[in-house]
Symmetry: C2
C-alpha cells in the first residue's frame, strides 16, 4: 500500500492544539488525560458506537454535537464511565464543565470521551484538578504525547499524517487512534481523533468521515458490532484558508476524502497490528463475489474464526479450517468447486479440495511470515472486499483474563 | 435439571449392536473405528451440517438415506475426509462397500461418518482391513467402547440412556456423542448417534430428532453455523414390540420426544463440559424477551464473546463485558433501563448500571464456582431461551494451535 505511514511525530494541524497530563485517573504517573482544542469556527463530524449500553460520555457528546460545534475534546483513559447510569452522566458533565469554565466556553462546546474499565464511577476530582495544567500545556505539536495519552492496553501509539494540495494551499490531515483488542469487534474501545486545517462544509465533512470509517475501522470490526464507548471524530479548522469545500464531486473534495481515508486505514491497520497478544498481521481479501456484502461475510467469518486464528498463531497452514469458515459464511448457493484460496502466493485449495500443486512445505513457508495474506476467490462475480485481523495467542487470553484483576 | 444423566455404561437398545477397534487410521493402538448395526426394519432419521464445504461422508450419507434405511453406520476418527473432492467420495464408497460385502447388505445400507483432520486423504486400507474384526465384535453392550471409539480431542466419552413406559412396554433410548471444541460452533465436528427400540413411523421419527436437536445441540451451536462433518442420527429398531407410534400428539409420542430430547440435552451439555480447555460450565439464560429469536441472539452474543469467556476463565465478575455484549446483540429498541443481569443468585446489574446491592466480593464468590449461571432479564416480554457454553483458557489456544502439528 502506498500513501501515508504511521509516524511517531505527526504533522501539526493549523488551528489544533493538544495537551496531555498524568491525572491519576486509575494509575499514578501514567499519561491518562488529553485535551484537544480546536480554533473557533471549526467544524466537527463524529460517529459513535451503536451499542445499546453506550457510555455516559457517548450520550453527552452526541447530545452536544447536535447543539453546537465543539471547541474542546476531553479524553480520559483508565475508566470508561460506562454502565454508570445517571451518576455517570453527571460525572461527565462535571468534568467538561471544569474545562468550559476555565477556557471560557459554553459547556456544550466541550465533548467528553472515556475509555477503560466499565462500570466503575469516574473519578471526577483528579480530572477537574488537572484542567488548569491541560490548558497551560496546549501546543500545536502535542500530537505525539496525546497519541500516548489515549492508550490503554496498546503497546504503542497510532499516529498518522497526510498532506495534499488544494488550490495551491498545503492541506494537512493528522489523526491518532487507540485500541488494541481488535481481534474481535467487541474487544475494546476504539477511539480515533482526526483533524484537518481544510475549510469544509458540514455536510461534506460528515460524508468524508462516514466514507473513511467505512473503508477502515469498519473493515476491522463488524458494522454495528461495537463496544460501549467507540467513537471517531474529524475536525476541520479551516486554518489553511482554502475556499470552503462543499461538493463531494469536486476534485479537491476527492483528494481530501482520499487523504482522510488513507489516514484512517493506516490507523486501523495499526490497531490490528497492535492487537492484544497479536503475533501476525493478516489481510483477508475476498474477490469474485456477487456483491460486497457476501465478500464481507466470508472475510469476517474467516477473520473471526478462533480455529483459523489459533492456526495462524501456530503458523500452521490448516487450510481445511479456511474452507470450513468459507463454507459456513452463509452463502446458500455457494459452488465450492469454483472457490480457490491462496496463502500469500501459494495456491492451497481449488475445486473443493486441496490444490494439486500444493505442498505442506510451501504452505508452512507462507505461514511463517509475520504478515500473511489470505486471498479467497469465490468465482461467482466481480465484487471484492478486504479486512484486516490478527491471530489468537496465549497472550491474548492472558491480557484479557488479567485486565481489571 | 432432572431426568437422565451421563453414564459410563449406558443401557443396551434392542436391535442395536456395536463394535469398536483400533484400526490405525491416524494413530496406532487408539480405538478409532466404530460399526453400529441396526436390525432389519429399523428406521433412521438424521440431520447434517449445512456447511457448503461438507465432507464426502456427509454427501454420501445424505444420498443413501434418501434411497434406503441404513443397516450399518461406519464411523472413523483421525480423518474427516473433508475437502477431499472426488477422491474422498470414492474413499468413503470403498470403506462402506467393504462393510456391505462382508455383512451381505447393499452398499446403500451402509452410512459413513468421519471426524478428524480436514483435507487429507482417508486411509482406506486400514479401515477395510478392520471390517472383519468389526463384524465379529458386534455386541449389544458395545456402547461404552463405541463412546470412546468416536472421541477425538474429547477427554471423556459422552453416553446417556433414558427409559420410559409405552403401553406397558419398557422403551429405551441410548445415545453417544463426540465433540470437544464447542466454545464456538465452528470448533470441531460434532457427531451424535442415538437409538431407541421403540417402533416409530418415519415422519414422527424425523420430527422427534429435529425437535430434540433444536433444544440441545442447537443451543450450544448457532443454527446453520456448523463444521464440515456434523451429524446427528436417530435409529428406531422397533424391537420393543410396541404398536408403531405415528402421531406426534399422542401421549406416548410426547413421552418418547421428551426422552430423546433429554438424552440429547445431556449429551450436548457433556460436549460443553468437555470443551477444549474448558474450566467452567456456563449456562446463559435470557428471559423477558419479546420472542425466542431475540433471547437467543443475546444468549449467543454473550456465549461467543471472547471478552466474556476470558473473564470467566479468570473468575473475574466483569459484568461490564456482559452489559456490552447484551447491548450489541442487535435489539434495536432495547431499553437498557429495563435490563437486569444475575450471576448465579447475585444481582449484578439493573437500570443500565451496576446494582446498588452489588459487591465485588459477592460477584467474585459467584464466579469462583465451576458451574456458573448468567441470567439476563430483558424486561420486555415473556419469551426465554437457554444456551450452554464454556470459558476461554490458555489450554484452548494450546489445543487448537497444536492440533495437527
Amino acid at each position: 500500500m502506498t500513501g501515508p505511514e504511521l509516524a511517531d511525530a505527526p504533522l501539526p494541524v493549523g488551528g489544533i492544539r493538544l495537551a496531555t497530563v498524568a491525572a491519576g485517573v486509575r494509575y499514578p504517573g501514567r499519561p491518562d488525560l488529553v485535551l484537544l482544542e480546536a480554533a473557533p469556527g471549526s467544524r466537527c463530524a463524529a460517529v459513535f458506537t451503536r451499542n445499546a449500553f453506550c457510555a455516559a460520555p457517548v450520550h453527552l457528546a452526541r447530545e452536544r454535537l447536535a447543539a453546537a460545534a465543539p471547541r474542546y475534546l476531553l479524553i480520559n483513559t483508565g475508566n470508561a464511565n460506562a454502565g454508570t447510569g445517571a451518576a455517570g452522566l453527571a460525572d461527565a458533565r462535571a468534568c467538561t464543565a471544569a474545562v468550559a469554565e476555565a477556557a471560557g466556553v459554553r459547556d456544550a462546546e466541550v465533548l467528553p470521551f472515556s475509555t477503560g474499565v466499565i462500570g466503575e464511577a469516574l473519578p471526577v476530582a483528579p480530572i477537574t484538578a488537572a484542567v488548569p495544567r491541560l490548558l497551560e500545556g496546549l501546543a500545536a505539536d502535542g500530537w505525539a504525547d496525546a497519541g500516548r495519552g489515549i492508550m490503554t492496553t496498546d503497546t504503542r501509539p497510532k499516529l498518522c499524517s497526510a498532506q495534499l494540495d488544494i488550490g495551491g494551499r498545503t492541506i494537512t490531515v493528522t489523526g491518532m487512534a487507540k485500541g488494541a483488542g481488535m481481534l474481535r469487534p467487541d474487544m475494546a474501545t476504539m477511539l480515533a481523533f482526526l483533524a484537518t486545517d481544510a475549510a469544509v462544509a458540514q455536510p461534506l465533512l460528515d460524508e468524508l468521515l462516514r466514507e473513511a470509517v467505512e473503508r477502515s475501522f469498519h473493515r476491522i470490526s463488524v458494522d454495528g458490532d461495537t463496544s460501549t464507548n467507540d467513537a471517531c471524530v474529524l475536525l476541520a479548522t479551516g486554518a489553511a484558508g482554502n475556499e470552503e469545500l462543499t461538493a463531494n464531486d469536486s476534485e479537491a473534495a476527492r483528494l481530501l476524502a482520499e487523504a482522510v481515508g488513507d489516514v484512517c486505514v493506516q490507523l486501523a491497520r495499526g490497531l490490528v497490528r497492535d492487537g492484544e497478544g497479536a503475533s501476525k498481521f493478516v489481510t483477508v481479501s475476498v474477490e469474485g463475489g456477487r456483491d460486497g456484502a457476501e465478500c464481507l461475510a466470508v472475510a469476517f467469518t474467516i477473520a473471526h474464526s478462533p480455529l483459523v486464528k489459533t492456526a495462524l498463531f501456530a503458523s500452521d497452514p490448516n487450510w481445511g479450517r479456511l474452507l470450513a469458515a468459507i463454507g459456513r459464511a452463509g452463502i446458500a448457493d455457494l459452488d465450492v468447486e469454483a472457490v480457490s484460496v491462496r496463502l500469500n502466493d501459494v495456491l492451497i485449495a481449488e475445486g473443493g479440495c486441496r490444490a494439486a500443486s500444493y505442498s505442506e512445505e510451501a504452505g508452512a513457508a507462507a505461514m511463517a511470515a509475520t504478515d500473511i495474506r489470505i486471498a479467497v476467490d469465490l468465482g461467482r462475480g466481480e465484487a471484492s472486499e478486504t479486512v484486516w485481523t490478527s491471530d489468537f495467542s496465549y497472550d491474548y487470553v492472558r491480557i484479557n483474563a488479567e485486565y481489571r484483576t
